[in-house]
């Protein structure tokens, strides 16, 4: 009796061990397909003929191949301007964030720092409590007068507490002796940070740089709220947002206008939108796989200790 139970169990386990990995692999492959499908779909739309695309129903391969959408974008100066605004603000914000957040995190990782608890509490509370949209809007547009200014992209987004926690946790994981020995040798805290800690923080700083850069690159609401009236300040994402609104409005009437469009133009908002999407996504796609191993540890550090 006992023997037969053991045999049955062994058989069952064997079958489970063979079937499970196969089913698991299939599930994960399907999941990858579901994840990539909308992306490939957009790429297909961007390379499709505009008037044909209005009919919809395009899968992951263009039905009527055309480069017209990209040509239209390439000849549009507002796209270049928006790309320049997006790129420059992303670089500036990322550098400023790294500079200040790095130093702050170091200071707050030092156990002997008497203001450590006080400052940390104030910082962490910002993750949960904020004054809300309207008071922030009034501060930025009225009190500080940043409306319709390039600085509205930079100044309000110079700090994020989550990033501070990620860097601080990383620094706390470094041996204390590094700081102590340098201090005994007479180096000041600022020097200890820049000469010893900063170079060791490259992985975590790369992670934070990615978070900040992606956040800035992907933002559109700041333009919408503060700079909608200034064309030269529009970012790429805001251009896309405006295209989204126009296609939404026209999608109901789309079918009736197909014929009208056929005679006038070869591009439609749908394909233009897809092409701008592709162009604005490529920089992220190029960068993030290389940083994957860094941000995975960074996320794990930040979330648990947060």
């Amino acid at each position: 009796m006992i023997v037969s139970v053991a045999v049955v169990q062994k058989k069952k386990r064997k079958r489970q061990d063979i079937v499970f990995p196969i089913v698991n692999t299939i599930i994960l492959i399907v999941l990858m397909f579901v994840t990539l499908y909308p992306v490939l779909n957009t790429v297909a739309y961007s390379f499709n003929d505009g008037t044909d695309a209005v009919r919809g129903g395009i899968g992951i391969w263009p039905r009527v191949f055309s480069m017209k959408s990209y040509e239209a974008i390439m000849s549009d100066n507002s796209v270049y301007q928006a790309a320049w605004i997006s790129a420059s603000k992303t670089v500036v914000i990322t550098l400023l964030n790294l500079f200040w957040t790095g130093m702050l995190s170091f200071a707050l990782s030092r156990k002997e720092y008497v203001l450590r608890k006080f400052i940390t509490t104030i910082m962490v509370l910002t993750m949960y409590v904020n004054a809300g949209l309207i008071p922030n809007y009034l501060l930025i547009s009225q009190t500080l007068g940043l409306r319709n200014s390039y600085w509205v992209y930079i100044i309000p987004t110079m700090f994020s507490c989550f990033n501070m926690i990620v860097i601080r946790t990383y620094i706390a994981g470094l041996p204390d002796a590094l700081v102590e020995s340098a201090r005994i040798d007479g180096a000041g805290d600022i020097r200890v940070y820049w000469q010893i800690i900063f170079p060791l923080c490259t992985p975590v700083l790369a992670t934070v740089a990615l978070f900040v850069a992606v956040g800035s690159w992907n933002s559109w609401f700041d333009t919408h709220l503060y700079c909608a009236g200034k064309k030269w300040l529009h970012s790429l994402q805001y251009l896309l947002k405006m295209k989204l609104a126009t296609t939404q409005a026209s999608s109901n009437a789309a079918k009736t206008t197909v014929d009208a469009l056929k005679s006038t133009t070869m591009t439609t908002p749908i394909t233009i939108r897809a092409a701008i999407t592709v162009i604005s996504t490529v920089p992220i796609l190029v960068v993030y796989p290389f940083l994957q191993k860094y941000f995975v540890t960074g996320m794990a550090l930040g979330s648990v200790k947060g």
Binding site: Q9, N24, M32, V114, Y128, L225, Q237
Partner: protein, 320 residues
């Protein structure tokens, strides 16, 4: 110890042995590194709270507002808010979408993490991870733009459902209120499921492999090992994240509802944030908009303190 100057030694000693301000003076470099950001946070995160005063002012008389006269009106704005069905609607929508996101998001992330944890082939595992992290880095504008194609009446979702016979006529997913919350839930899962696994996978790597071996020797199959080793191993992470998320229960996201919503679904897409935005920037009733935002912040504080209390009682790390 002979080579160390007296000054350097003093600085390395614990702070309490000297006066507070003397120690602070010695730590001027640390202050230089941290106080600018402290001031920054005070200006950008705390100073705006002064704007809450507008919640107690009357902004309805446009002539007076134009002349800069905004008299105090006590709690009238709040009274008005709580007499408005559309405010309660926005609270309902916020809570519904936030709970859907929390439940769907957590369950799907844990599920995917478990599946990934069972993958033995490292290359395959890494590929799946790279692919599923990708949507996290896409902006909401792009995601909504994709969703509009995917859920269009002649889009792939309708074709698929029609193909397998689930529906006969194409469903107008984006134009019917009853689908909106679930659509937001699905899109959020698509965007964040991979990203959500990171923390659970890192918790799983901390599980002692001996436990799996012991379970296998005891005759546990794959499912039993997942059930009795993997899931208990990530329990504390799950609890911490859950408690943290309770503090964010009124944060249902804002971009997705704003971008995906349209006139047809507005009864289901208007969250508190969108309510605030409409009253503040379109109807220019700053008093009411601030009151609504203030209500949200105060509920968030209560939730946070409550969650912190629960975390304390459970013996977990507190949040603040």
């Amino acid at each position: 110890m002979t080579g160390i100057s007296q000054g350097a030694r003093n600085e390395l000693l614990p702070a309490r042995k000297h006066g507070f301000f003397r120690t602070l003076g010695k730590q001027w470099q640390l202050m230089l590194m941290s106080v600018p950001m402290l001031l920054y946070v005070l200006l950008f995160n705390y100073a705006p709270m002064w704007g809450w005063i507008n919640a107690f002012k009357d902004y309805t008389n446009k002539k007076n507002v134009a002349r800069g006269i905004t008299p105090f009106n006590g709690l009238d704005n709040f009274r008005w808010l709580f007499s408005r069905p559309d405010f309660f609607q926005s609270i309902r929508n916020t809570l519904a979408m936030s709970v859907i996101n929390l439940v769907f998001g957590t369950v799907s992330a844990i599920l995917l993490a478990v599946l990934l944890n069972e993958v033995r082939n490292r290359k395959f595992k890494r590929t799946v991870q790279t692919v599923t992290y990708l949507p996290h880095f896409l902006s909401m504008v792009i995601v909504v733009s994709m969703a509009q194609n995917i859920f269009a009446s002649n889009g792939p979702v309708n074709s698929l459902f029609q193909g397998v016979g689930l529906i006969r006529e194409p469903v107008f997913w984006l134009g019917e209120g009853k689908y909106f919350w679930w659509l937001v839930g699905v899109i959020n899962v698509w965007k964040e499921v991979g990203w959500g696994t990171i923390i659970y996978i890192s918790a799983m790597t901390a599980i002692d492999p001996c436990l799996y071996e012991a379970a296998a020797i005891d005759g546990a199959g794959r499912f039993q090992r997942i059930l009795h080793v993997t899931l208990p191993g990530i329990k504390s992470t799950f609890v911490i994240l859950l408690i943290m998320n309770i503090g964010h229960l009124l944060e249902a996201g804002f971009e997705i509802q704003y971008l995906l919503g349209n006139g047809l679904v507005r009864d289901f897409s208007t969250t508190i944030d969108i309510f605030v935005l409409e009253y503040g920037t379109e109807k220019l009733n700053i008093g009411v908009a601030t009151a609504a935002g203030m209500f949200k912040s105060i509920v968030a504080i209560i939730l946070l303190v409550g969650a912190n209390f629960v975390a304390n009682r459970l013996g977990e790390d507190t949040l603040i």
